[in-house]
Amino acid sequence: MSKKPIIISASPHIHSDRTSKKLMYDVVIALIPAFLVSIYVFGIGAIIVTAVAVISCLIFEYLIQKYLLKAEVTISDGSALLTGILLAFNLPSNLPIWMIIVGSLVAIAVAKMSFGGLGFNIFNPALVGRVFLLISFPVQMTMWPTAIENQAKIADAVTGATPLGIIKEGLQFGETMTDLSSKIPSNLDMFIGLTGGSLGEISIIALLIGGLFLIYRKVISWHIPVTMLFTMAVFTGIFWMIDPEQYANPLFHLLSGGAILGAFFMATDLVTSPMTRKGMVIFAIGIGLITVVIRLFGAYPEGVSFAIIIMNAFVPLINKYFKPRRFGSKIKSKII
């Protein structure tokens, strides 16, 4: 006989062993390879930026939950941790520390807790934080330490442009792709991650490993990343075929910038992406399209962040119009 009273609860009485915390930590695990590469490439800077972002995200979440909302503190659920990591992954590795803290504040306080915390936010917190920083401090946010050279440096990093930045500026200034091809890193370098850029976005191979791990663990489904990358490839491909001198090839677009990081880790954020597979496809097509438009015609060399938060805004609309088909709502079978 148990000492405790018998339990009454409503069905179902069993539960699968997945928890949201496990999902979050799976994503953290999936990000480890990319983090390792970035430590190799950027050295101590990568560690500092990530640590500062993570710690400040956790602290802000704690303070807000405890003192402003006076609610239960849930910083151990891994979501603030993840926001911190992903925010850091979107920053250059030599960003001044106070800016990282500001970015974390915006991500957590403005984009997440103002909406009620985990699960209620409309926009991806990490990206809101990043875009806020990008627009407020364009200078610091667009100075990318070059790969390898800065491994041991903390200050005065040697900076250079990202491949996308090189192309954007070059093309605007009338150079052609052939002229530029010598300035940009090789596809292999980009695939491994030996280029400048945000600290987490550079290594395609590491990100792919993480992304596939997430798909294998069923944390994310393939729909968003595959559709998004496919859309990008198709549209950049069209322009490339029209004029290969003015437009970079699709492979370059997929390997450069935050395409892969965005596709696997940020566009797939469960909270801010649609709920149905159909919706996800629409959402991802939108992201791909907007990214390409911004990259090719906009002022910014890179458009993934903007594209994702723009499409985040459309998610409620997508959810509203792409509902799962209700069972029995349309009778396909013949009635005899």
Binding site: I6, I7, P12, V271, G328
Partner: protein
Amino acid sequence: MLKTFPKGGIHPHENKITSSKAIKRLAPPKVVYVPISQHIGIPSKIIVERKEKVKIGQVIAKSGGYISSNIHSPVAGTVTKLDKFFDSSGYKKQCIVIRTDAKDKSNFEEIDLPLLTEIKLSEKDILQHITDYGIVGLGGATFPSHVKLNIQKDKNIDCLIINGVECEPYLTADHRLMLEKAEEIIVGIQILMFALHIEKAIIGIENNKKNAIENFKELTKNNHKIKVAALKIKYPQGSEKQLVRALLKREVPKNGLPLDVGVIVHNVGTIFAIYEAVQHNKSLTERAVTVTGKKIKDPSNFWVKIGTPVIDLINEVGGLPEDTRKILNGGPMMGKAIKNTNVPITKGTSGILVISEEEAERKKSSNCIRCGECVFVCPMGLEPHLLMNLTEKRMFENAFNEDIMTCIECGSCSYVCPSHRPLLDYIRFGKSIIKTLEFAKDKK
């Protein structure tokens, strides 16, 4: 590829530990508590008085309306009380308490009835027997069968589906029944096909009951009208709408019945009960029940008299384990937690499941992370997270518009939610409020 329904569904651990245990007959209990509302619809009307002597199979409560059913005494004995006792709904309900007459021999007869394959009764008489002998659906919903089988002229039924799916984890009563009473079930099917002039019948069985499938295939080798279909293992395939979709690719319309697509679905147990009622004039006073649980010493299947207190069954399988925290009437997905062990077995009880400490506790729920898992597994194409939010915020009208009423309460959503949201709890709450509102509206 095995057949199944296309959208949603889950596959919890099956735990069918009793699938090789033959159904044993239990000695009649000392006292039975027979609730007068064991079926969906209007409770029956008691027609016996205190101290009255009753015989096995005697009608003790008469059908109280159109959707209602007769209730028969499961034992021979004396009515000692007409009072309210807790039943599996968690509320006290009117019961007829009968003390078994230990001297009456009929209580102890092993009633293994011979197989009768010949159908002697007319169509009308068959239906009359089903009505008189208190047959209700044994698949869980306990819907009075004579109502279901009373088909209007304008409806055209072309297929009878026998629900042998038993997709609930742990439960094996239907499985055993299909093994042990296969011939009777085939006759039962033929009775119904004859009574309703149906030319086709399909027995749907999930692929984890291979021996039952083989058994039926063997028996129906020469009968082209009855088919046996193996189904992929997926919960809630036993739900009639999903089953019809899986077997026939017909989709029962929203708010519709299988009838609307020309199908009647019956559980194997019901079919067997119909067989006995028609061929042997036997009323529905006992049923097969699985008594199981991970820590139970000797989990088994039993033939149990309606009204037997749960404790009698549990004692039979070795008593309650030390750390019992929850006892379920039914399977883990749809069963109801009961308040104490005196709750009686009713016509709708397919199993008793004893759950211990570690599995009984519910985890704390956290915010919905909008992962869409619940949407993905909902077999009805609903958005459980939305329905829960709407009911939580008391926006019942919106919930209604989001088709909350079509939820079949399968619990797949609650099962799968990584945030442990009590989705179905709220959906049920919303449904109940809307029902009362609609009811109030109808009255106006």
